[in-house]
């Protein structure tokens, strides 16, 4: 329910209000649509119906549109910003809007559908947990809708809402809605989008935006706002390994040397074993320092300052990472690129690549250009403004990247033209390409299904080799995660292990497998085969030095 209405009631208590404010989390979403799709109207409606618009703002809008002599509010005008765009009648850049409900705070990145759509949509989508794509119920999925979905997918947005707008103009026809919904699910599958929810709305009249419409009795899904209020945020879904790009060394006096940064993935605990890259030196976290006191643990995206137990050389641009799962420094990587500038990509040029807190020189050679509508790849050696493609990037110094699908913060970079200082491209790492030296780990998670005998045999065998081994029937992702953190071999015996949990954990490259993976014919491997697999994956027993 709208918060402001609530608090106008007699029994409003400011203490309760502040308490509930403090519980709210933050969801960021982007919106895309063309001028005619009614995007600005939708945002205006969302803000207005959730009581997030002030009267003077409504009045200001009514004054601007006074010529039409209509008494109705022009919702689109509530959100249109700059003079230039009011003159042209279109939104020309990304605008950020804010609103809150009793459950959540929201930041909207409002992006235009026409001009510079790729550049602006990519910008808006880069920080979004969710994307709303507007579809005109009369027209269905147009080339433009496909572009929007495609960019959202490219930028790694897992949840997309297709708002089928202007349902009032198709008499709230279930058949029309179903037809669009079916077409959308085909598109979602093609684009590898995890969730694409279609909602029938009328932004102009408010149906299913904030309040449930009586004109769509056949629709039993959530309203747009209900969906926004209950979506998990990206931070909640993340199970990335610990990543901490060092922004700055803080050294107020001889006795304190801290490394300031924002956690870019995972969690860290005092005592955790970490590796500093690119040097490869290891140490343990001595303390997690903040202005508000020391913490026992911290997780993404908190900004903290770490001190380490050992005196090792750390400077801006370095990465402090979980020792059990650190990225390999690389000077060659494959990345998806969005080109943002009128000067096309030049394979002969040296660009500056900024990644987390590190800036290096880089050359970029394009592999192919991708047609954003058909998703077909075309041979090309350059990208123009608003084009996307895949390229091989070579850097002058090692960079500490993760694949973008695993970690948006450590998997993204921008390209800067050193002559003009313009931001010319945005990149998402697909893979590290340099010959990688496998890194030694002590932890693994092996899923054995219901094979108790194998479990006992394997446990004995690995303990005998000096591995730290535990076994569990628990299938909770958080528990598995912390066992991986603990540096032990975890054997999981459970009837139904092929759950979403394990699919998530597979993103811990190389540390998670099941006994079916080790046998060439897809049967369960033997204890011996599994041990060989551990060696192959560079997972060895804890050394004595580590066991202090």
């Amino acid at each position: 329910m709208p918060p402001i209405q609530e608090i106008r009631q007699q029994d409003f208590s400011i203490e309760d209000f502040l308490e509930s404010e403090q519980q709210k989390d933050l969801l960021r979403f982007s919106t895309a649509g063309s001028v005619d799709d009614g995007k600005s109207t939708l945002i205006g409606r969302l803000l207005y119906d959730s009581r997030n618009v002030y009267e003077d703002q409504v009045r200001a809008v009514t004054r601007t549109t006074g010529a039409s002599a209509k008494t109705s509010i022009d919702f689109a005008q509530l959100t249109d910003g700059l003079r230039a765009e009011r003159e042209q009648g279109i939104t020309i850049d990304v605008a950020y809007r804010f609103f809150a409900t009793a459950k959540r705070k929201f930041i909207i990145a409002d992006t235009p559908g026409h001009e510079q759509y790729t550049r602006n949509m990519a910008t808006g989508a880069s920080t979004a947990d969710l994307a709303i794509i507007l579809i005109d119920a009369r027209k269905g999925i147009l080339a433009q809708s496909r572009r929007h979905a495609s960019i959202a997918s490219l930028l790694g947005i897992r949840h997309i809402v297709a708002a089928i707008n202007k349902m009032d103009l198709v008499n709230f026809s279930e058949e029309v809605f179903e037809r669009h919904r079916t077409a959308l699910s085909v598109l979602a599958a093609k684009l590898d989008i995890e969730e694409m929810l279609a909602i029938p709305i009328s932004a102009l009249d408010g149906d299913n935006v904030v309040t449930r419409s009586e004109r769509t009795p056949w629709y039993d899904g959530p309203t747009l706002l209900e969906h926004l209020e209950t979506m998990p945020t990206t931070a909640e879904e993340s199970d990335a390994a610990f990543r901490f790009p060092v922004q700055r060394v803080i050294r107020p006096h001889q006795n304190f040397r801290g490394f300031a940064g924002q956690i870019a993935g995972g969690s860290v605990y005092v005592g955790d074993k970490v590796v500093v890259l690119p040097s490869g030196k290891t140490s343990r976290v001595e303390s997690i320092v903040t202005f508000d006191g020391e913490l026992g643990s911290a997780s993404a995206p908190q900004s903290v300052t770490l001190t380490l137990e050992d005196e090792i050389d750390v400077s801006r641009g370095d990465l402090i990472a979980a020792a059990y799962s650190a990225p390999q420094p690389t000077t060659r990587l494959e990345a998806s690129l969005v080109w943002l500038h009128a000067d096309p990509l030049d394979g002969a040029k040296t660009y500056l690549l900024k990644h987390t807190s590190q800036t290096v020189k880089a050359t970029v050679s394009l592999r192919h250009r991708t047609d954003i509508e058909t998703l077909e790849d075309h041979a090309a050696d350059s990208l123009g403004m608003n084009e996307i493609g895949v390229a091989v990037v070579e850097t002058s110094r090692p960079v500490l990247v993760d694949p973008y699908r695993d970690n948006h913060a450590t998997g993204s970079f921008i390209l800067i033209d050193p002559a003009t200082n313009a931001t010319v491209g945005a990149g998402m790492v697909r893979a590290r390409l340099a010959a990688e030296i496998e890194q030694h780990s002590t932890s693994a998670l092996i899923v054995l299904g219901s094979r108790q005998t194998l479990l006992q045999e394997l446990e004995q065998r690995l303990l005998g080799q000096g591995y730290a081994v535990v076994n569990t029937r628990v299938t909770n992702r958080a528990v598995w995660e912390s066992l991986l953190h603990a540096g032990v071999i975890t054997l999981v015996a459970c009837e139904d292990c092929e759950s979403p949990s394990i699919a998530h954990l597979r993103r811990h490259e190389g540390l998670v497998f099941d006994s079916l993976d080790v046998h060439p014919q897809g049967e369960h491997g033997t204890a011996e085969e599994i041990e060989r697999e551990l060696h192959r994956r560079n997972i060895f027993p804890t050394t004595t030095e580590d066991a202090r």
Binding site: R83, R97, F98, Q247, A409, T423
Partner: protein, 310 residues
């Protein structure tokens, strides 16, 4: 070894929206302090500046804030603001610089004589540009928020300004993820807005939670005002003259701080931060509605920004 980590201690830390905003702002402050030669924090003495200053303390703790504060003083700020500024910055031990357009003030520039547009142009915009140039600052933090005004909604966190200090809304650098391009040529500058994603309510809530000192003008008390229609105009400058009967003692407070002749007060009983928040959430008008300068003409903030104002 690390297996001492108790299973029960593994818990996803769900951050509140204020913790998310705080973390983002601290990240921005550290990036700027590390990448620029000579950054400065523009300190307006208002509530947003107070929050920004607290975030800077947090960002570099336990070290000192590694840049000075610059207050662009128009000469018409409220006395209580100046007192607060001097006391609070001394208490925190931060370096405070003050810049005024002395030549214009000597010629008697004031909003009654020049009109608000020309007055702001000289005493705020010109003074700001001169102050930045004279000191050679290449990056300046400002406390502006995107929710304040429609043209600010499009502002980048790193806002590029050309050699004349001007903003071109059509030619902004795209800003993806939290990777900021702060590269500039000599003479160019960047304005940085670490509070971009905060709302007015977030600011107040944070002030409440963090117990951040703010100028007493924000709290309601009996003040001498010119009562003109719905407007309450504070009586501080001699050139602000009322008609007979306009001058009254009114229980009132300021919702945002500016120059005394151009900042209207509101009738209010809110004398604590929670009461201010309670008042805020029941308000029917936005924060800058009582600022005379934004209403001069449609889109006037955008014009000011293009010229170099914040």
């Amino acid at each position: 070894m690390a297996s001492a980590v108790a299973l029960s201690s593994f818990a996803f830390t769900r951050l509140s929206h204020l913790q998310m905003l705080e973390a983002e702002s601290i990240h921005i402050l550290r990036e700027v302090a590390s990448e620029f030669q000579k950054p400065v924090m523009l300190y307006s003495i208002g509530k947003d500046s107070s929050v920004m200053l607290r975030l800077a303390q947090k960002a570099f703790y336990p070290g000192p804030i590694p840049f000075p504060l610059l207050h662009v003083d128009t000469g018409y700020k409220f006395r209580e603001m100046i007192e607060f500024r001097d006391n609070y910055t001394r208490e925190l031990g931060v370096e405070l610089l003050v810049w005024r357009n002395e030549p214009a003030l000597a010629q008697g520039a004031n909003p009654v004589a020049l009109g608000t547009q020309r007055c702001c142009g000289l005493l705020k915009t010109q003074a700001l540009l001169d102050g930045l140039r004279e000191h050679g600052f290449d990056a300046a933090f400002g406390g502006a928020r995107r929710d304040e005004e429609r043209s600010r909604a499009k502002e980048r966190i790193f806002s590029f300004r050309d050699r004349a200090g001007q903003w071109d809304p059509k030619n902004q650098r795209p800003e993806l993820w939290n990777i900021f391009n702060g590269r500039i040529h000599p003479g160019e500058g960047i304005r940085i807005f670490p509070l971009s994603n905060w709302t007015e309510l977030d600011i107040w809530h944070y002030i409440h939670l963090e117990n951040i000192p703010i100028v007493p003008l924000y709290f309601a008390k009996e003040r001498k005002m010119l009562v003109r229609g719905d407007s309450l105009i504070p009586v501080e400058q001699s050139f602000v003259k009322g008609l007979p009967g306009e001058e009254q003692w009114v229980r009132s407070r300021l919702r945002s701080l500016g120059c005394s002749p151009c900042t209207g007060a509101i009738r209010s009983d809110a004398d604590t931060v929670p009461k201010i928040i309670a008042e805020l959430v029941s308000f029917r008008s936005s924060e800058r509605a009582n600022r005379i300068i934004d209403h001069d003409q449609d889109g006037s903030m955008e014009l000011k920004k293009r010229e170099g104002y914040f």
